[in-house]
């Protein structure tokens, strides 16, 4: 859905993006992570067509962002980290303006306002002036403005900042719904635990370069491969070979008293495997799904990168 080649962007005295090439899969939720000054916001602004890169190309939905920015905007929504709202307009007027200015047909606007307000729990606030709302509610209105035209691509820069835990959880649910509807999301946030809830891909930036861009283990999707960790109460040299024979592949990681395996079966299959292990005489002390969260994954990538640099 998004294809970037050799993207380079300079600020006076500083290169913000350095030869960035990447693709973002359609229907994915990509967590854009990196330290402050890594180039996350600049990358989003370039994709949104708000900044002109020094060189390189950006295609969204097959359209060149530099050549056809207005056409790209019809299929794109963007929430800036420093967003603003028209303080004197009501929430309904803010949403109507966003819908109309994104080219939605006049007849479709009332339904779009209604649906968006429902999605964001703003229905009872529609007649309220946006300037009188709390920070969290304003954030929700801004997200509503970005999604009201049902874009194919949604760019969100720190969308959860200022939201309370309940609203954050609601937002994660919304993002999963949008993804299920076929939308492609690129979400930047410093709170990696929050991105963990809905991201399918991770895109790490550091000093304007891509550190990694890969699919995450989609543990929350049905049929997806999970990692199981088996811990024995006492060392047993048979474990690795037994698992290799049983699963038809070597375990991802194995030791005398533990092993980590990729497992695609459901909970019944998992239970059957445990029963077989016990029956085979292994003293199983722990048998559980092992998840590497986004934070651990990111920190591991950064550590590897720093090692390579040294």
């Amino acid at each position: 859905m998004i294809k970037i080649s050799e993207l380079t962007f300079d600020y006076p005295g500083r290169r913000a993006l350095n030869n960035v090439s990447l693709t973002v899969e359609p229907g994915s939720v990509t967590a854009l992570v990196g330290p402050n000054g890594a180039g996350k916001t600049t990358l989003m602004r370039c994709i949104a067509g708000l900044e002109t890169p020094l060189f390189g190309s950006i295609h969204v939905g097959g359209m060149d962002v530099v050549e056809q920015p207005r056409a790209v905007h019809r299929i794109m929504g963007y929430l800036s980290d420093l967003f603003g709202l028209y303080q004197e307009l009501t929430v309904a007027q803010c949403l109507e303006y966003a819908a109309a200015s994104q080219g939605l047909a006049a007849g479709a606007i009332p339904a779009a306002i209604r649906n968006t307000a429902e999605q964001l729990n703003l229905t009872d606030r529609l007649r309220q002036a946006s300037g009188s709302l709390s920070r969290g509610l304003r954030q929700r209105v801004a997200i509503g403005q970005a999604i009201i035209h049902n874009p194919k691509v949604l760019l969100l820069d720190e969308p959860a900042s200022g939201l309370d835990p309940e609203a954050r959880s609601h937002l994660a649910l919304l993002f999963r719904q949008l993804q299920a509807g076929g939308m492609t999301l690129l979400v930047s946030s410093h709170i990696l635990a929050e991105l963990d809830e809905y991201s399918t891909h991770i895109l790490s930036l550091r000093e304007g370069r891509v550190l990694e861009n890969r699919a995450l283990q989609a543990w929350h999707l049905p049929g997806a491969q999970r990692t199981l960790r088996i811990t024995l109460a006492a060392p047993d040299t048979r474990l690795g070979d037994w698992l290799a024979q049983r699963l038809g592949a070597l375990p991802a990681e194995t030791g005398m008293d533990y092993a980590q395996i990729g497992f695609e079966g459901d909970m019944a299959a998992q239970s059957a495997l445990l029963a077989e292990l016990v029956k085979a005489g292994f003293a199983v002390a722990a048998f559980a799904e092992h998840k590497e969260n986004l934070q651990q994954s990111y920190l591991r990538t950064v550590a590897t990168h720093l090692e390579k640099m040294q």
Partner: protein, 439 residues
């Protein structure tokens, strides 16, 4: 469907109270004036003048304030990015902002115009057919100019601009100049333009209409670029040519060859526009790198789309400077000794542009334009003055080579040398930036 930008502005500027309040207030004001006049024959005269004054206040002043804020508020409240992300085309955005932000003022203005028209019909001797359209055109000129000015200078990130101060300076300057020029030089006189005698009022109306059209066009161009719809840089030099034709027509006197007057007028216009653009556009190293890369790729369209405005009028200035230009009669108070050595003057503009670039390309440059202006004042005024007073004429001439003492060719040579030195300094700065990895 109504233009969303226009509709948004209507939401912001109209309410039931305001809709009723404006005609009620204006009506009461007119009634009070009429009742205070003891001679009934004079009432139409008084109402005509009062309606025009009210129009000037409501549309010109108050409307200019609203047009000024239409951009300043977007930048300050960080809603401008949302507008740039919309799918509205530049023309829809332009007229939506231009007429939307001032819609309430035009509503009041329309009432004033209606009162003025009725009063003029009763009075019977008022030139309302020309005056009223001229008022409307001038209002539009002010509003569109402010939108273009604020967006053009918005990138400079100066507090004065972000608070709308530059717009207010422009409003006050324009209104004072307009008042003096119209009352002293135009209204009750016949204007000679390219040898034609044109009644002052008609000339004023035609001028206001011409420049209102130019201002709306400028607002559209600036908004196009802000919406990332890139344009080729022909409009700025074309406007310079229009201004040159306009002013050359005014300054042509009997005995002048139009060709010569065009050279002088063109040089004045292009110098003002070159310096204006030079000091109002951010000259950042990445922008110049973009030009360099487009040039390397032979992407001439992209190169022209990213070219700043000032080189286009600087190039025109060299063109005007090369026209044969002996002294002419008509320049009057606009005459400057610099016009006696036009090619040298064009080189001086090139040198000054390079000085601005030299400071703008410095690492961690802070307020480069202000620093460059300071150095230009020292180079062009203080040093020549000091050396002149101290009796070092040759040194004074080196910094400001005007006068017949050493001949016109010497002046050109001196300025060309300075321009070459300044170009060398810019090249050195670029080379240093390249070595530092920032270019």
């Amino acid at each position: 469907m109504m233009n969303p930008e226009f509709k948004r502005n209507l939401w912001l500027s109209f309410s039931k109270h305001k809709l009723i309040g404006m005609p009620v207030l204006l009506g009461l004001g007119a009634l009070a004036l009429a009742m205070s006049e003891k001679n009934p024959d004079r009432i139409p005269d008084i109402l005509y003048t009062a309606a025009i004054s009210a129009f000037i206040f409501i549309v010109w002043l108050w409307g200019a304030r609203n047009a000024n804020l239409s951009i300043v508020d977007e930048l300050r409240d960080k809603t401008w990015d949302q507008q740039r992300m919309s799918a509205l085309n530049p023309w829809a955005m332009t007229w939506g902002k231009l007429l939307g932000s001032t819609a309430f003022n035009w509503y009041g203005g329309a009432i004033c115009l209606a009162v003025a028209t009725i009063a003029a019909l009763y009075a019977g001797d008022k030139p309302w057919v020309i005056d009223l359209p001229a008022l409307v055109a001038t209002g539009l000129l002010l509003h569109a100019s402010l939108i273009a000015l604020n967006l053009h200078t918005g990138q400079l990130e100066m507090q004065l601009i972000q608070r709308g101060g530059l717009g207010w300076i422009a409003i006050i300057f324009t209104l004072i100049t307009f008042n003096i020029v119209t009352n002293v030089f135009i209204l009750e006189r016949e204007i000679t333009w390219w040898g034609m005698g044109i009644p002052g009022r008609l000339f004023l109306f035609a001028s206001a209409a011409l420049f209102a059209a130019c201002a709306v066009f400028a607002a559209w161009r600036v908004i196009s670029n802000a919406l990332q719809v890139r344009t080729l840089p022909w409009a700025w030099p074309l406007f310079a040519l229009i201004l040159t034709g306009y002013f050359a027509g005014l300054f042509t006197r009997d005995g002048d060859t139009p060709f010569f007057v065009i050279g002088h007028a063109g040089l004045i216009v292009t110098s003002i526009m070159t310096y204006g653009a030079l000091f109002s556009e951010p000259a950042r190293l990445p922008d110049w790198n973009m030009l360099r890369l487009r040039q390397q790729k032979k992407d001439w369209r992209g190169w022209l789309q990213h070219l700043p405005l000032w080189p286009t009028t600087l190039l025109l200035a060299f063109g005007f400077a090369l026209l044969p230009s002996p002294k002419v009669n008509g320049m009057g108070m606009l005459y400057s000794p610099l016009l006696d050595f036009p090619v040298g003057f064009a080189f001086m503009m090139l040198r000054d542009a390079c000085i601005v670039l030299f400071f703008s390309f410095a690492p961690n440059a802070k307020r480069p334009v202000a620093v460059a202006m300071l150095y230009l004042i020292v180079l062009d005024a203080l040093l020549p003055f000091f050396f002149n007073v101290a009796g070092f004429d040759a040194l004074s001439y080196f910094f400001f080579p005007v006068g017949d003492k050493y001949g016109a060719a010497a002046g050109v040579l001196v300025m060309a040398t300075q321009a070459v030195i300044a170009l060398g300094l810019v090249a050195w700065r670029l080379q240093k930036a390249k070595l530092a990895g920032t270019a």
